[in-house]
């Protein structure tokens, strides 16, 4: 019985195979969005008999948010070195010799379970001929403080789902919003995670040896809210949106969590309005909700484009 059906089916497929191929949905999403899940070594510095190794996703520093894992080992014995007070400071120097930094965690936190120091860096530009990034790292072993520096290469982030935006708020402060998750969204309600950072303007002139960390200080803002309105901006999509989205609010990890519902694959704009802890708008405008086929969708003053 099953055999007959099978034979019949085979016969029929031989007679008529489909004229157009069906879309391989999984494969197609994979080609648009590559997901990285493995931490690999980006750089290793040998100094003072210590090997300082930094790992990031896919062994690459990308523009945008990067989780950083730092390990210090003894070069000879290859054993773990008991280090403390590990600091991390990325500095970008442009052609004019000006130095800036980017949102980062200056003091790295030790994770005893995994035996590394954890931090992040939100690179705001890619390395090129005019802009070069250098890491300044210091650590203490047996009451002796060591400092190392190393030029690094920051690559383009091809995954638009990890885009960042930099802007000045109505309070005249400089802000950064970096998308952290999902790396690879689905046609579904996706948990959307973003980091919101603020540059702390230095109040005093630099002191001591370069770099003075007080000149390059950033913090995660707290108690803010990101109002979310995702839309498909292309004219053909007529300002299409989706139901069941949730605004981003801060959770215990310091990051901002919300829900974005993508109804289909394609180009989406996350239209945002950033409110401070008192509910005042610091940046962003409300976008019209009308269905306007043939017209490019209006974007908020504050937005991030994604594609999957």
């Amino acid at each position: 019985m099953k055999k007959t059906t099978f034979l019949l089916a085979v016969l029929c497929f031989a007679v008529m195979s489909c004229t157009k191929d069906k879309t391989n949905y999984e494969a197609e999403i994979d080609t648009v969005v590559t997901e990285h899940s493995e931490f690999k070594e980006v750089l290793a510095i040998n100094s003072n008999g210590h090997k300082i190794s930094i790992e990031a996703l896919n062994g690459t520093f990308y523009m945008g948010y990067n989780e950083i894992r730092l390990k210090i080992t003894n070069v000879q014995t290859k054993e773990k070195v008991n280090a403390s007070t590990v600091t991390f400071l990325p500095i970008m120097t442009n052609a004019g010799g000006n130095n800036t930094s980017c949102p980062h965690s200056y003091d790295l936190a030790y994770k005893s379970d995994d035996n590394y120091f954890l931090g992040y860096s939100v690179f705001t530009s890619e390395s090129n001929t005019n802009e070069s990034w250098k890491l300044y790292i210091s650590y203490t072993v047996a009451d002796q403080t060591f400092a190392v520096k190393q030029t690094i290469s920051v690559q383009e982030q091809s995954n638009k789902n990890l885009n960042i935006t930099t802007f000045t708020g109505n309070d005249n402060e400089q802000y950064f919003i970096a998308l952290i998750s999902p790396q690879k969204p689905n046609v579904a309600e996706n948990e959307l995670i973003a980091g919101i950072y603020k540059f702390n303007k230095p109040t005093n002139p630099p002191v001591g040896a370069f770099p003075d960390p007080s000149q390059f200080s950033y913090t995660e803002v707290s108690g803010y809210t990101l109002l979310l309105d995702p839309r498909m901006p292309e004219p053909s999509m007529g300002n299409h949106s989706s139901p069941n989205n949730k605004n981003l609010t801060q959770q215990s990890d310091g990051l901002y969590h919300g829900v974005v519902n993508y109804t289909m694959t394609g180009n989406w704009t996350l239209n945002l309005i950033m409110l401070n802890e008192n509910g005042q708008t610091l940046k962003g405008t409300k976008v019209p909700g009308d269905f306007t086929p043939g017209v490019e969708g209006a974007k908020s003053e504050l937005y991030i484009d994604i594609l999957f």
């Binding site: 019985m1 059906t5 008529m16 949905y25 086929p293």
Partner: protein, 662 residues
């Protein structure tokens, strides 16, 4: 399921025991011929007006059927004023599902009049033999020549031209009927241009091209058993849908089956007929023919079904029965991909049918018991198990986050009717109860654009079964000169599925104005009344008239959409020797009970007058018929209540046809 079979088996064993001492059955079928145990009115595939009709035109002449028309091709048949999801549409009992989310390809578009012998239409639960239904069943019966006819070879060729849309068609079929071997074959081509409405305006994008061929081979393996294989291949290309924003580039269907039939000379079981089938449909739309579209969307669809039908016919004295097992599995896939005018860039991708599997297993039975020569009781029922699986359920979860990936439904059905004949009067009364599962679009559809109300439709996987409570009655009078019959049915349908505006959705399709989700109304009520009369004025002059009335309301007594207004057909037929002339009039009254809520506007009344004449003569052994006629003689400009976008229907159409039968 198994339990049920056991119950049925026990039931029949009981009957069989009674039958042991019964005398030899009165009619022993010795030849393999089509044996009808439960009588169904059979009709030839031609209307009174036209001898060369399309399947759609033929169905349109049936009083139970009305149509939603999106152009000149592939009309969606509505049985008892209910949309096609509520009826089972089958070919020889085989389930086939269209591959177009916009219902541009009802099953009737994949056959041709010259490979069909009849169409069985059953109203309500009486039609549950082929599967769970609410509205009834439409079964297209293929030609199947009996074994051992005196005339071994027979065939027909038909050609014709219709002037309005320059339709030219050629239909040919032939059969061989040997004692052991039978073959039926057919081939047909139709090509039509754009038609013109009553104001002589050309209706752009109303052309079509259709090719259809079929082959059936049967072999008698013993005096009482035979095997048969059948195949239909159908291809439509460049079909315009003036009421839609896109056309059809190509649709293809292959419909195949292999069956085994065993007859029994004595005993309760008379026929056992088992069939395995497979069919596949592909359907590709094309909107690049419409310059007004700033974006292009590819909407390919595929539908593949395989299944099994096994049926036994029982007869004992005054009792007869059909028991049928239906098993099928269908997978429906439809994609949406949008491009800006620069086709190398893509804008979006989504599934409008996210690889939806439907698996149905059901057992149905129809019984008929002649209580006396004057009265008969018909009763039966069905029990089906419907399973759905959505592979990419994430699309369904956008609007229904809790949507399950799998869904099982139990679909029971019951019906009974009593027929009484007193002298020249016939009466019948019947009742029915049945469930149906939501269709693939109703449960799993995603952003399916409906150009009638211009909404995007979203399916809901958690819809409840639609439950129908039905009552029907008829009364008729007949003598030598005239007959009159009135038929009425009433459906109370719980959880009636219909699209309602979703406030949270955002539209997507280019012409769309909003998003509707399929939801269940608490209930809906439908009433249909038909009056049929025949009168033989003279020996060669016959008059016929049909009047249809329907009324349907939702749970708030608002009107339901697509309900035909009061309508009539009347015809006069004169024949003398080989010559015959017929004229007919049909029309709808003004649509009073329309439904603005569901996107309808009022359709005015219209009346169409048609006339045709034909002459039949013999050239040697070849029976030849020549026909000339005109439809819509007064060139009335009109559209009906069910024409999408109120596109006007065809104006005056002169048609000619020549047919050879040998």
């Amino acid at each position: 399921m198994k339990k049920l079979s056991v119950i049925f088996l026990v039931l029949f064993l009981g009957m069989n025991a009674n039958a042991q001492d019964a005398e030899i059955p009165r009619d022993t079928s010795k030849h393999l011929e089509e044996v009808k145990i439960i009588g169904i009115a059979k009709r030839k595939i031609e209307t009174e007006m036209k001898m060369a009709v399309s399947v759609d035109e033929f169905l349109a002449s049936s009083e139970n059927i009305s149509f939603i028309k999106r152009g000149a091709y592939a009309w969606e048949p509505l049985l008892n004023n209910m949309s096609s999801e509520r009826s089972t549409l089958t070919i020889d009992g085989m389930h086939i599902f269209g591959a177009c989310t916009d219902k541009m390809d009802p099953i009737t578009s994949y056959v041709e009049s010259n490979n069909l012998s009849t169409i069985d239409i059953k109203s309500g639960q009486e039609g549950s033999l082929h599967g769970a239904t609410v509205g009834g069943s439409i079964d297209l019966k293929r030609k199947s020549t009996p074994f051992g006819l005196e005339k071994k070879f027979s065939g027909a060729y038909q050609t014709g031209f219709e002037f309005n849309n320059k339709q030219f068609y050629n239909l040919a079929n032939a059969s061989y009927a040997g004692d052991k071997f039978v073959a039926d074959g057919s081939i047909s081509f139709r090509k039509a241009g754009n038609y013109h409405d009553g104001n002589q305006n050309e209706i752009k994008h109303s052309q079509y091209n259709k090719f259809n061929t079929s082959l059936g081979l049967a072999y008698k393996i013993s005096p009482l058993s035979s095997v048969r294989v059948d195949a239909i291949f159908d291809q439509a290309k460049d079909v315009g849908y003036p009421a839609l924003p896109m056309d059809l580039w190509l649709s293809r269907a292959i419909i195949t089956s292999a069956s085994y039939k065993q007859l029994f000379e004595a005993g309760l079981v008379r026929i056992w007929d088992t069939k395995l089938y497979f069919n596949a449909i592909e359907h590709y739309m094309d909107d690049t023919t419409r310059p007004e579209n700033l974006v292009h969307m590819d909407m390919p669809g595929w539908s593949t079904t395989y299944g099994l039908i096994s049926k036994i016919n029982l007869q004992e004295d005054r009792y007869s029965s059909e028991i049928q097992l239906n098993v099928y599995e269908n997978i429906s896939i439809a994609e949406m991909r949008m491009y800006p005018q620069d086709r190398s860039k893509r804008t979006m991708f989504a599934y409008s049918w996210p690889w939806v599997t439907t698996r149905f297993t059901g057992l149905s039975m129809n019984n008929s018991w002649e209580i006396s020569d004057k009265s008969q009781l018909n009763f039966g029922g069905s029990l089906g198990l419907n399973y759905n699986y959505s592979k990419y359920v994430e699309f369904n979860r956008i609007f229904y986050p809790e949507a399950p990936q799998k869904n099982n439904r139990l679909l029971p059905g019951l019906h009974a009717s009593y027929e009484l004949n007193i002298d020249q009067f016939d009466f019948s009364i019947g009742t029915g109860y049945g469930h149906r599962a939501p269709s693939v679009s109703e449960a799993y559809g995603y952003y399916i654009y409906n150009s009638f109300d211009r909404y995007d439709y979203i399916g809901n996987p958690d819809l409840k079964n639609e439950i129908s409570y039905e009552a029907n009655a008829s009364a008729g009078f007949k003598n030598e000169k005239m007959s009159i019959e009135a038929k009425a049915n009433y459906f109370h349908i719980q959880n009636y599925i219909i699209g309602r505006i979703l406030s949270l959705g955002s539209p997507m399709n280019y012409q769309s104005v909003g998003v509707k989700g399929y939801t269940s109304l608490d209930h809906a009520k439908l009433f249909n009344l038909t009056i049929n009369t025949n009168y033989d004025i003279l020996q060669h002059l016959h008059w016929k008239g049909v009047l249809n009335y329907a009324r349907a309301t939702d749970d708030k007594d608002g009107n339901l959409p697509f309900i035909r207004p009061l309508s009539y057909q009347t015809s006069l037929h004169f024949m003398h020797k080989g010559f015959s002339v017929q004229t007919s009039m049909n029309g709808d009254f003004k649509q009073d009970n329309y439904s603005p809520e569901y996107g309808e506007d009022q359709t005015p009344a219209y009346m169409i007058w048609n006339i045709s004449g034909d002459y039949t003569f013999n050239i040697k052994n070849v029976k030849t018929a020549l026909q000339v006629g005109a439809e819509n003689i007064f060139n009335e400009y009109y559209s009906t209540y069910a024409d999408w976008g109120n596109i006007p229907r065809m104006g005056r159409n002169i048609f000619t046809s020549l047919k050879f039968n040998f």
